[in-house]
Structures are given as structure tokens and as C-alpha cells.
């Protein structure tokens, strides 16, 4: 019997589940990969849900209002639709009322990003019912809450921490808006500008990735159809810019009228008895139904009508009538508690106001003005800037819708004019006012602006005479005996070297190292500027960052150094100084040290 030759030894095969487990383990521990994966998953999931939401709403509306249908449908359908959604909202989904933007912000700033699955489902069902029945609200705001909710639910199910969930909510919101409006860049900006209130939010990468993923899903499913079909417009004359200023004024005033009416009505609706809550949306439905019976174009979000106006189909009296009726219909629908947003109606109102201004201008100055369609286009952005108060988002959004660069300058002029007027006449932005009516105190733009204005330079104090790096620890103990500062700057011949903490100096003196130099002490404690952990701030950094750094390093004194030369000491910033800059009375004020020889 021959013995078979030995075969090459095979490595033992690990079970599939074990390898999968390792893969999962590897993934969950690698931060970058996980962030990438979550952005992609949230983007794709939210994109798919948003497309389903839009298609369902559209199909429902098409069946509710067949071509050539009887006029009575226009009264009955929105009334019943609002009644059904009203009952659902009160009985099952109380958190799904309204647009979804203030609710998303509340989730981020108050509830650690928590949005329940029930709310997501409720928002989807109630909004599809209400919008499909012709309620004069938009689908974009609800999409934002649905997207944010999906991100919240998914990240919680993945076992992420509260802080992580909180940061992923805007990622979902951005993905939803990118799909709902077909504007991925504007969606990113909106998430940062309005939802987060910080254009420099560090989640930018994830927000962009999810937005693009969602947008790709939209394109794969529905093709490359823009939301609006716009002719190529151009600036006919430089004088036309003045007309765009007028449009900004009109848009601003229209925005203020809309916001004030909506808030006023909502305040009065909220004063009605609680047991009428389920029937209140029906008042909005009936109102829009009665208006829609006479002027059907007011029903629903009205993008078809906007498309026509953008195409130049403008009859002056009619567009003025539509703008007025839409303001009333949307304000009543929203205030009465229907589920739906105000993005779409803002665009509608702006397009009609713009078309009206453009028509008048074209009649009065035919030689120097473009067609009314161009003004309708700019008007959309103008109303958006006036109502939503996100001027940058509105400019980019219209640019993305038109893909036409020439419209940018008039758009910016008009938007900023409307934004300024709106800001002057309606101090509180709509989403902040809505949240306040609900008893929520979210971070306001004014607060953010105040916080943004506070820099390290606003709390800087003059640095005391630095100790010499060659000074012995024993001498330093004597020098620092009377100071209230916890740390002191040290310099050598080349300039600032680092900070020595008083307790380190005392500890070294007591441990028999009194003859060592301060240079040795700084190097031993990692405080020298050549070390990785050299702790410092710059004058132009936010004050909050200095505060955070004090917390991380457990130091109450930080050196402020030049950005051009870190060996140039500009001053010190102390914890009491920071608190004073924030307006907090400090019990432990540190007296300013006298400069040696000064």
C-alpha cells in the first residue's frame, strides 16, 4: 500500500457567519467607512421613500380629480380629505401635523434626534391623503421630516448613540429635499442653513453624500425631468435690475402678508377647544374647496400652473388673483392643522407675484424688460427668501431649477431685497415663530449670530511678562507665589515657548527638582510648542472653541498666539474672561498681572 503524497496544507475555512461577523465588527469600528455607509444607505432609503411619496400623492390627486370631472368634486374631495387626515392626526399621529421643518429642528435641538417610526408613517399617510385631495400645501416640508425620521429610526436601530443619531437627522432631511425638489445642492444648503443653522457644520460630507445618493435614486426612477420647465431668459438691459428690485419689494411684502396671516390664523385656531382638533383641518379643506370650485388652479401644490406661468402664459389679473387666493388658502390650510408644507406654496405665490410685476413692467417698458416668465422665475426665489428666510438656499435652488447662470444676478438682487423687507417687517422667521407658538424654544438666528460674533479676541487679556526658559523651578515658585493665574507663559531667545502650570511647578519643587529649568518642565509635561499636544488658541477662533479646549485640557488659561508665528504670544484667555464675554458674572475674576518692568 502506497502512502499518498502529502498535499499542500489548506488553511481551515472559517464559517460564513463568523466572517460576516468579522466584517460587521470591522465596519462598526471604522468611523470613516461607517459614516460613508450610513450616508449612502440613508440617501438611498430616503430617496426611495420620497419618490414613493411623490408618486402616490400624484396618483391619488389624478384619481380624485379626473379630467373633465364634476365641479362638486373640488369642494367635496378636499373637505373629506382634510377630515380623514384630521382624524388620523388626532387619533394616531399627533406629531405629524404641520410642515415638518420645525418638528425636525425640534427633534435635533430638543429630543436628541428622536423621531419615532410612527411619526414617519403618520406623516407619509396623512400628507399623502391631504395633498392628494387638493389641500393647498406642499410636499417638500413633510418629505424633510419623513427623511429625517428615517435617518433617526435607522440610526437608533443600529444602536448608535444619541449624539450620533442627532447628527444623522439632517443627513436624512437633506436627502429628502434633494429628491422632493430635484435640487441636490440647495438641499445641502437648506439642511445646513435652516435645519442646522450653521453653514460650516462638520456633517457637510455626509449631507452631500446622502443628498447626491437620493438625487440619483430620483433620476434612476423618474428620469431627468426638472421640476419646472423654464425657457432660457436673459437680462435685456441693465435698467431691468431696477425692476427686479421692485419685484424684491413686492415679493417681500407678499411674504410678510402671508407669514403674518398664517401666524395670526394659527394663533386663533390654537385657541379653539381641544376637542375640535380633529375637525379643524376640515375648515381648511372646505375653504380651499370653495376657492377651488371657482378657481381650480389654487387646489393642490399648483406646480402645473407655475410651469405655465414660467412658460410666459401670463394674464395679469389672473396671476394677481391666484397669488392672493393662494396666500389665503395656504394660510388657512396650514393654520387649521393640516399636514403639509409651505415650500411649494411659497414658490407658487412668488411665481404669481413675479409674473404680475413682470407683466406690468413689460407693458410699461417693453424695450428694456424680459418676458413675464423671467420675473415669475425670479419671483419664486424671492418669495422663498422672504418666507423661509434662507436667501442663499433660494438662489441656489432657482439656479438648480433653471440651470441658467444668467438669472443669478437679478435673482440675488431680488432675493436680498425681499429678505431685507421681510426681516424688517416680520422680525421672527416663520419656522421660529411656528415653533414658539408650539411652546418650543429652538436656537434662533439672532442667538446664533450673537454666538458667531464672539471670538477669542473679545476675551483676550494682555500676557504677563513671560518667565525665562532657563529659570529654575525653584525661582519660578517664588515668582508665581502671588499670581492668580493657573499657568504662566515661558519664553526663550526665539520667543514664546509654552505654558507652565503652577501646580506642575510646585510639584517639581516639592519632588526635589527645584534646580531643573522651566524648559525641562515644559518638555516633560508636553507644553512646548514643538509637542503634538501644545494647547493654544487664535484670536479669530470662536470663543466657544476656546471654552471647549479648556474643558478638554482641564486648563483655565490658554495662550493666544499668532497664526503666522506661533512663537509670537499675543495674549492670554482665561475661563473667567470667557464667561464675562458671554455675559456671565464670574465670582472668580482674575486680576490682571502687571507686566514686569511695565
Amino acid at each position: 500500500m502506497t502512502v499518498p503524497p502529502p498535499t499542500t496544507a489548506l488553511a481551515p475555512r472559517r464559517p460564513f457567519l463568523l466572517r460576516l461577523g468579522e466584517l460587521v465588527e470591522d465596519l462598526r469600528r471604522q468611523e470613516d467607512r461607517l459614516a460613508l455607509l450610513l450616508s449612502l444607505v440613508i440617501g438611498a432609503l430616503v430617496g426611495l421613500v420620497t419618490v414613493a411619496f411623490m408618486l402616490l400623492t400624484g396618483r391619488l390627486a389624478a384619481h380624485m380629480y379626473p379630467a373633465g370631472g364634476d365641479g362638486w368634486r373640488r369642494i367635496l374631495v378636499p373637505t373629506l380629505g382634510a377630515l380623514v387626515s384630521g382624524v388620523l392626526l388626532v387619533r394616531f399621529f399627533p406629531d405629524a401635523r404641520g410642515s415638518g421643518i420645525p418638528q425636525t429642528r425640534a427633534a435635533i435641538f430638543i429630543h436628541d434626534g428622536y423621531i419615532s417610526l410612527k411619526t414617519v408613517i403618520g406623516k407619509f399617510v396623512c400628507c399623502a391623503t391631504a395633498l392628494g385631495s387638493g389641500i393647498a400645501l406642499g410636499r417638500e416640508g413633510p418629505s424633510v421630516q419623513i427623511g429625517a425620521g428615517i435617518a433617526s429610526v435607522l440610526s437608533r436601530r443600529l444602536g448608535l448613540s444619541r449624539a450620533q443619531v442627532r447628527w444623522l437627522v439632517p443627513v436624512g432631511a437633506s436627502a429628502a429635499l434633494a429628491a422632493a425638489f430635484n435640487t441636490p445642492i440647495a438641499a445641502v444648503l437648506f439642511s445646513l442653513e435652516e435645519i442646522m443653522g450653521d453653514l460650516h457644520a462638520p456633517i457637510l460630507g455626509s449631507v452631500v453624500l446622502s443628498s447626491v445618493t437620493s438625487w440619483m435614486v430620483l433620476h434612476l426612477l423618474l428620469g431627468d425631468e426638472p421640476l419646472f420647465h423654464v425657457s432660457a431668459y436673459h437680462l435685456v438691459s441693465a435698467w431691468e435690475l431696477l425692476v427686479y428690485v421692485v419685484l424684491g419689494v413686492v415679493g417681500g411684502l407678499g411674504s410678510v402678508a402671508f407669514v403674518k396671516l398664517l401666524l395670526w390664523l394659527r394663533k386663533h385656531f390654537s385657541q379653539l377647544p381641544k376637542n375640535t382638533l380633529w375637525v379643524q383641518p376640515m375648515i381648511g379643506g372646505l375653504t380651499v374647496g370653495l376657492i377651488g370650485f371657482v378657481v381650480p388652479q389654487v387646489l393642490g401644490v399648483g406646480y402645473d400652473q407655475v410651469d405655465r406661468v414660467l412658460g410666459g402664459e401670463v394674464v395679469l389679473r389672473f396671476v394677481v388673483l391666484l397669488a392672493t387666493l393662494k396666500i389665503v388658502a395656504t394660510a388657512v390650510c396650514y393654520a387649521s392643522g393640516n399636514a403639509g408644507g409651505i415650500f411649494g406654496p411659497s414658490m407658487f405665490i412668488g411665481a404669481m407675484l413675479g409674473a404680475a410685476v413682470g407683466r406690468v413692467a413689460h407693458i410699461a417698458l417693453p424695450g428694456v424688460t424680459a418676458d413675464a416668465g423671467a420675473y415669475a422665475l425670479v419671483g419664486m426665489g424671492t418669495a422663498f427668501a422672504g418666507i423661509i428666510r434662507t436667501p442663499l438656499t433660494s438662489v441656489i435652488m432657482i439656479f438648480e431649477v433653471t440651470r441658467d447662470y444668467t438669472i443669478i444676478v437679478p435673482l440675488m438682487i431680488s432675493n436680498l431685497t425681499a429678505f431685507y423687507i421681510s426681516q424688517r417687517l416680520q422680525h421672527e422667521p416663520i419656522y421660529e415663530a411656528l415653533a414658539r407658538q408650539d411652546g418650543l424654544h429652538l436656537p434662533t438666528g439672532a442667538f446664533r449670530e450673537h454666538a458667531r460674533r464672539l471670538h477669542v479676541s473679545s476675551a483676550i487679556r494682555e500676557a504677563p511678562e513671560p518667565l525665562d526658559a532657563a529659570m529654575t523651578v525653584r525661582d519660578a515658585v517664588e515668582r508665581l507665589a502671588d499670581t492668580a493665574l493657573d499657568a504662566w507663559p515661558v519664553q526663550d531667545a526665539e520667543g514664546f515657548l509654552g505654558m507652565v502650570r503652577r501646580r506642575d511647578v510646585v510639584a517639581w519643587a516639592h519632588s526635589g527638582k527645584g534646580d531643573e529649568t522651566l524648559r525641562a518642565l515644559i518638555e516633560a509635561t508636553g507644553g512646548t510648542i514643538t509637542a503634538e499636544q501644545f494647547v493654544h488658541v487664535h484670536g479669530d477662533q470662536p470663543l466657544g472653541q476656546a471654552l471647549a479646549r479648556m474643558g478638554e485640557t482641564h486648563q483655565t488659561v490658554l495662550p493666544v498666539v499668532s497664526r503666522a508665528n506661533v512663537r509670537l504670544l499675543l495674549g492670554l484667555v482665561t475661563l473667567p474672561d470667557v464667561l464675562t464675554a458671554y455675559g456671565v458674572e464670574s465670582a472668580a475674576d482674575i486680576p490682571h498681572e502687571e507686566k514686569a518692568g511695565g
Binding site: 462598526r28 432609503l45 421613500v49 436601530r157 450620533q164 425657457s231 402645473d304 501644545f534 494647547v535
Partner: protein
Amino acid sequence: MAEHLDAAHRVAPMAVPTMAVPPSTSNVRFGTTLLVAGVVMAVLLAADLALARMDVRESRVAAAALYDQGRVLLVQGKAREAGDRFATALSMERGNLSYARALAQAELQDGRAEEAGRTLQDLLNRAETDGAANLLMARVLVRERRPADAKSYFHRAIYGKWGADSVSRSVQARLELIDLLATRHEESELLAELLPLEAMPNDSLAPRRRLAHLFIDAGAPDRASEIFRALLRDDPRDADAYAGMGEAALALGNFHTARADYAEAARLRPENARIVARAAVADTVYAISPSVRGIGAAVRDARSRALLDAVSRRIDGCAGTWTSAFADSAHATLARVAPKDAVGSADAQASLAGELWNARPSTCRDAFNDDALTIVLRHMGQ
């Protein structure tokens, strides 16, 4: 220094939580959630695809119904209502070029040339070689009094894509261009458009007759004559063909032949007032033209003198609008060929009459209506 700054930035982490999953979460939970998310996405994708397909199908059916309604309304002359139907149909099915064309046609028919122009521009951005769209755009531009731009679109229409029945529709586009050129008296361009039509086989009478008349307008009466002659070979009693022959002969300066052809036409259709009137003009031309053969030197001289007198009278008649430089020049010339200096110089007088006629300013054109004198003078001036 750079490393110091880098170090400083590393020390300042953003206030973002780490994305690593907390250790408290089990791998099973993590993996299962991702798996469930994948399944949900697959289900949603299937649902979305089904919904999108249904949406497209239903939208197409509804759009087609609206399009049909619009066609009926357009035939009934209700262009505004038809336009509404087409616009809605187009909003339901953006890629449908027929809906866009129909909308533009309705807008044009409704007098909304500017809107039609925009609709067509969008359409042409997507299908720049679409023959029908280019033809409609040309019509819009004609309506907007922009003939130069219109001609360009007519050419695109002629050489564009037409689908079924492309030859006749292309010819139709060319005929519309020819009408525009004839109206604007652009003879050389007109002739260039007529020549391809002449080369095309055509058995029906009306287009051939029209083509022949257009050749006269284009300054090619000999080609017109050939066509009319061919028509007469087919039907020797075709009065219109005789009249056409007469008109071509007038343009060629064959006044004797013209008179004979018109006489024959008038004989064949004495009830046709236009033919009878043109026959009278041909008679007059024959009677006053100094270039008619066989009339003798004295008669030729007398006719030349009469012609020059007639031109000078017309000139005097519109002197008020004549530019002063031209008037002075003309009167000086007339003085040089006064009877005492130029007796018997019939050719010189006739030639001068022709030159004066050719040099007449636009402000004096009304003085020379299209009558026998004009025909004779045009011939003199050639």
C-alpha cells in the same frame, strides 16, 4: 512652522461625535438592521418602479385624450381652448414632440406669436432638425416681421425631418418660403428656390401653373414660357396657359407674341375680366413700344419721343418728392436731347427713357404703376 499649525488643528477636534458604533451594540443587532434596511430598500424599489410605470402609463392615456380633444377644438377654430388641452397634455408627457408642435400651432393660431416662439424654441432645443417645428418657427418669425430669421428656419424646415409624407411637406415649406421671397421681390433667392421645384416630377396643373408664374416673378420668363408651352401641349385650349405665355412674352419683351397670346386667351375665355384687362395692356404695349419690329424709323422715333415725354411728365408729377440732385440731373439730360439736337435719335431717346425709369427713386415709384408704360420702360431699362 506648518507642523505646528497642523498640530494645532489636530488639537481642536470638531464637536462631532465619533461615528464608531458603541461597544454596547451587538454585531447581530447591527448586521440585522442593515440587512432589514436592504430588504426594505429592495421592496421600495420594486414598489417605486411599479408606481412610476403606472404613472407614466396613465399620464400617457390622459395626455392622448387631451391631445385628441385639442385637435377637434383647433379644427373648430377654438385655438385658445385647444391650446389649454395641448399645454396640459404636454405637461403630462414632456417628451412628446407632437404635443409641443400642436401647442405652438394653437398659440400661433390664437395670435400669441411670442408664446408660440418660446414653445418652439424649447421644442427645437430638443429636436433641432424637426421640419414641422422649424416651419412653425418660420411662420412665427414672419408674423413678427423678421423675414431674414424666418428664411433661415424655412431652410431648416425644407431640409429637416418630417416623418411620413416628407417630400410633399418639404415642398409645402419651400412654397411658403417662395411666397415670402415673392412678396419681398427677392428675385435671385426666389429663382434659387424655384429651380429645385422645376426638377421635381409634377403632374397636377395648378402647381405647375403657379411655378411658371413664380418664374416670371423671379426674372426667368423663358423658364415660365417653357412650362406654359408644355401645359398647352397637354391642353391646347388652356386659356390660362395662353395668358401665362403672354405674360412671359411681355417680360421677355416679345410684345407681338404677347399680344397674340393674350388675344387667344381672351378668345378662349372672354368672361375672364383679368385676362381681358391684361390683353388690353398687351395691346397698348404693342402700340407704344418703340422696339416693336416693322414699324419704320419715323414711327419708332415718334414712339420714342412719346415715351420720353411720358416719363418726363411722370417725373414732373412726383417732382415734389424727388430728391433735388436726381431732378437736376434728369432735367439736364432732357435738355441735352432736345428735339432740335437729337432729331431721329430714337434709340437714344428710348434708352434715356429706360435709364430715367431705372434711376427713379423709391419715393417716385407710385408714379409708375404696373401698366403698359411700365412694361415698356422695364424692357427699355434692361
